[in-house]
């Protein structure tokens, strides 16, 4: 499901607690972050092809904002996807909203168990995932996605993730490299991958190109639930109609990506994007799997994070075609650059960036878009 905070209010205590509880209950939760417009919330629900869309509202603007979200959902062919609302909704508005088809509303008086159970219940319709439309099938969606129908692409990606076999996927998508340049971004947690990707996306959009992104986050090996927060780091760019972001839980796979990441990128490619990105879980040097799906792999590091030690080990440094030293305003950046030069025999580009100010982003994009797809 997608949980979105719609409107200008910043009360995120409830939504944060709830995301954790839903994850514990085995649900994959994509959190959009603060200050979402109705259009952005619905776009996220479409791209992520959710079974449930959750809106958190504390600003008393629900009577204006909720109908706008519903309109947008209809525009994406997702009127059937249940919407639940959390926040402060006066009783009389509860009735009005219910009449418009809102599946459930939760306030501080509802226990977490009740909320989680209700969400699980509405996520299933007639024994099937609530995301599925009444008619249509994978062939139809795939054909539509090939003509650039993003809403259909969302459904194709879900099919790849859950309902398909490897053979079926290969017969539909093939197994070759993508037409568009496919760039994998990896690096240890905390190095600033999502923020940097957001900056890079902005720059690429500035150059008039469309982009597809698969953002991989870890899933809990125990409950299967996951908290997918990469999207929240991309506010401001996620709303752009020429940017398509799909979050994906690693579902127990090691190596930084999910089993179906490659197929998802190929489906995006078939739908027609100028560039494709995949953001790995960020386990550092174990993220070698990304090489199999991305033509260009960018390894991000930052000064003072012990990355210099990692450099000496075989693995990730050997599969990267581009190195980024992020947070280059911190002390030790030049030292780290020198170490990379020393350890890596290949003549690879090393680019210094400061996500906070956007320094180095343009140079990085130049390299990424011109990189050989070897």
């Amino acid at each position: 499901m997608v949980l979105a905070k719609v409107g200008l209010d910043g009360h995120d205590r409830g939504v944060k607690v709830l995301t954790r509880c839903l994850r514990e209950a085995g649900i994959e939760v994509i959190y959009t972050g603060l200050w979402q417009t109705p259009a952005a919330a619905a776009k996220a629900a479409m791209e992520e092809d959710v079974d449930v869309l959750g809106l958190s509202l504390h600003s008393a603007a629900h009577n204006t904002l909720v109908p706008l979200v519903q309109e947008e959902m209809a525009r994406h062919g997702r009127s059937h996807v249940p919407i639940v609302i959390g926040g402060i909704i006066p009783p009389e508005d509860v009735e009005t909203l219910k009449a418009t088809g809102i599946a459930a509303m939760f306030g501080p008086e509802h226990s977490l168990d009740e909320v989680v159970e209700t969400i699980k219940r509405v996520a299933v319709r007639n024994g099937k995932p609530a995301r599925l439309p009444e008619s249509g099938g994978i062939q139809e969606w795939f054909a539509a996605s090939e003509t650039g129908d993003r809403s259909a692409l969302g459904r194709v990606l879900s099919w790849i993730e859950s309902d398909s076999s490897q053979t079926e996927i290969e017969s539909m998508l093939g197994s070759g490299p993508t037409k568009a340049p496919c760039i994998g971004i990896t690096g240890a947690p905390g190095v600033g991958k999502s923020t940097l990707i957001a900056q890079v996306l902005r720059e690429i959009r500035h150059r008039g190109k469309s982009i597809g992104v698969v953002a991989v986050d870890p899933a809990s090996p125990i409950t299967g639930g996951a908290l997918l927060g990469d999207r929240a780091r991309m506010t401001g760019i996620a709303e752009d109609p020429c940017v398509f972001i799909r979050s994906s839980a690693s579902r127990g796979a090691m190596g930084g990506i999910a089993p179906m990441t490659g197929a998802m990128l190929r489906a995006m490619d078939a739908s027609g994007f100028d560039a494709l990105f995949v953001e790995t879980v960020g386990a550092g040097q174990n993220d070698v799997e990304v090489r199999k799906v991305a033509a260009t792999v960018v390894l991000m590091m930052m000064p003072g994070a012990g990355d210099d030690l990692q450099l000496q080990k075989a693995g990730i440094t050997e599969i990267a075609q581009v190195f980024v030293v992020n947070k280059a305003d911190l002390p030790g950046a030049d030292k780290l650059m020198a170490q990379i030069r020393q350890e890596i025999l290949k003549d690879v580009p090393i680019i210094k960036t400061i996500s906070a100010t956007g320094e180095g982003i343009s140079a990085l994009v130049d390299v990424l878009l011109s990189a050989k797809t070897d």
Binding site: Y31, S59, A61, S111, L112, A232
Partner: protein, 536 residues
């Protein structure tokens, strides 16, 4: 029979709402390590027992109800209503677009104009908002953070136009940006630039508005976001440390501005722990100001605070129960020695308060002040084994956090690393789980539940208001001297670029009727915009 069963299931562990274990009895042994001079006398260092010798015998706390909704005209009427009912200070709530520096005609403001507070765009709105109220005679507080410097400039410009001398202005601007990064999420510019703006206002007020409190260092929102009492205390005090450090870096004499720093704490349900929290806060601050910052003026050592009862403790099930919660919380604030108090209205989980609900909330304070006798003696719980022990424990917990944040390189670094948010989110999660598992009982919510019809009256804000406000703004924009506005905005940008105090330029720009959104954009052009850092 059913009740007995439920009691048997109750966890045998006794903890406060913050998860602090509580013993069955406290006695002299619990006070062994606490020296009498660490407690001190009222009005004496370290001010554990209060900043004044006789406290409420001389002057009651200020009863200050937060108010604001709809148009400036509507809020002006509510202000006059509250003053007529005996309220002694004004407190202004702004709507979300204003808090987020969005004008009423901004696309992101749709549906939110005037909803949770009053909508203001320009000096024109301020002239109406405080029209007919003598700004030299009443203390006015304003709850505004990211755009505080701009809003304060509007306020100063209003006073200037009405001929009220700046040194006569009394009141408080919340202006505590650090807690926005911790908890409330109403930030615009990156942390460092945001703090710079706060220091601009501290400096400006120290020079021109000696009776005005430029910042109210707030734990309230940290607690509302789900922190423990100890975290609320520690993070708030550390935010205070940060403002003092940054002001001193600018070359300001600590004794020039520190006496005007004020604090704002939550008054939650855990009666004794709350009282201990306020006592520990005073002691911590006095020590910090004396020992870390070498303040000489006794007033610099005083921690003066406003308290508000906990919004997060109220429920819309059996809403009349909220009256009792608020009354106990208010009593804790008074026993803890607050300087001013807001009592929440019982209907606030549903909407902004109606006039009758807000009157009841004010009456709650008046009954407490005049009928219970708790104001007759200073710090009546001083010396209590339990309260003194709790005070010490909270103080120790806060010191631990302070040292940890020191080691991280200060509050801005701690914010950027996501540490503070993570601590608060963990505490919120722990508490939500306890409520969910009924280890913490909430009357009418997870125990003593009844089927009920909700019959309380709710305040309505007209939906047409936003459109009307946007139209008014459009008309103002086409009738003002736009060349003057452009020039004033350029001056603001230049001052920001030069690293100067931007207050004089903001006041000048306010007088050209530049809008809040335009002024904020000018600052954003220089400082950039912050995306919020790590989530949790």
């Amino acid at each position: 029979m059913a009740t007995e069963l439920k009691h048997e299931q109750k966890e045998p562990e006794f903890v406060t709402i913050s998860g602090r274990p509580v013993k069955a009895v406290y006695g002299p042994d619990d006070l062994k390590e606490i020296k009498p001079e660490e407690i001190g006398e009222p009005g004496q260092f370290p001010f554990t027992r209060g900043i004044h010798k006789v406290m409420y015998r001389k002057q009651l706390w200020t009863m200050r109800q937060f108010a604001g909704f709809g148009t400036p005209q509507q809020t002006n009427e509510r202000f006059k209503f509250l003053l007529a009912k005996g309220q002694t200070g004004l407190s202004t709530a702004f709507d979300l677009p204003t808090l987020m520096t969005r004008d009423s005609d901004d696309p992101l403001s749709v549906g939110e104009v005037g909803k949770c507070g009053v909508a203001v765009d320009t000096l024109k709105d301020f002239e109406v908002l405080y029209g007919g109220i003598n700004l030299g005679g009443v203390s006015v507080s304003m709850t505004i953070n990211a755009p505080a410097a701009i809003i304060l400039a509007f306020y100063i410009a209003t006073a200037d136009k009405e001929g009220v001398a700046r040194d006569q202005l009394r009141g408080t601007c919340q202006n505590d940006i650090l807690k926005e990064f911790h908890a409330q999420n109403e930030f615009i510019y990156p942390p460092q630039a945001s703090v710079k703006l706060v220091i601009d206002t501290i400096e400006f007020c120290a020079q021109e508005m000696p009776q005005y409190n430029p910042v109210s260092i707030s734990g309230y929102h940290i607690r509302e976001a789900g922190s423990t009492a100890g975290q609320e205390l520690a993070f708030t005090i550390y935010d205070g440390i940060t403002y003092v450090e940054e002001s001193m870096k600018r070359g300001l004499d600590v004794d020039l501005f520190a006496p005007r720093l004020s604090f704002f704490f939550n008054a939650h349900n855990e009666f004794f722990e709350e009282i201990a929290k306020y006592r520990a806060a005073r002691r911590l601050w006095a020590h910090l100001m004396r020992d870390r910052f070498h303040a000489k003026n006794e007033r610099s050592l005083w921690l003066r605070f406003h308290a508000q009862t906990a919004g997060c403790s109220l429920y819309n099930k059996q809403p009349y129960n909220n009256l009792m919660r608020v009354a106990y919380q208010a009593m804790a604030a008074a026993l803890g020695g607050c300087q001013s108090l807001h009592t929440n209205s019982m209907d606030e989980t549903l909407s902004l308060p109606t006039e009758s609900a807000v009157t009841l909330a004010l009456r709650t304070q008046q009954v407490l002040a005049h009928e219970t006798g708790i104001t007759n003696t200073v710090d009546p719980l001083g010396g209590s084994y339990y309260v003194e022990r709790l005070t010490k424990d909270l103080e120790d917990e806060a010191w631990e956090y302070i040292h940890r944040i020191d080691e991280m390189g200060g509050m801005i670094r701690a914010i950027e690393s996501g540490y503070i948010r993570k601590e608060i989110a963990d505490a919120a999660y722990y508490d939500s789980k306890r409520v969910n598992n009924r280890e913490r009982i909430i009357v009418g919510v997870n125990e003593y539940v009844e089927e009920e019809e909700n019959d309380i009256e709710i305040l309505k804000i007209s939906r047409a208001l936003g459109e009307e406000k946007a139209r008014e703004l459009q008309s103002l924009k086409s009738n003002r001297d736009n060349a003057a506005v452009t020039k004033a905005l350029a001056d603001v940008r230049q001052a920001a670029r030069d690293g100067k105090n931007v207050m004089p330029e903001l006041v000048a720009a306010a007088k050209t009727y530049a809008t809040l959104g335009e002024l904020s954009k000018a600052l954003e052009d220089v400082y950039g915009r912050y995306d919020g850092g790590n989530l949790w």
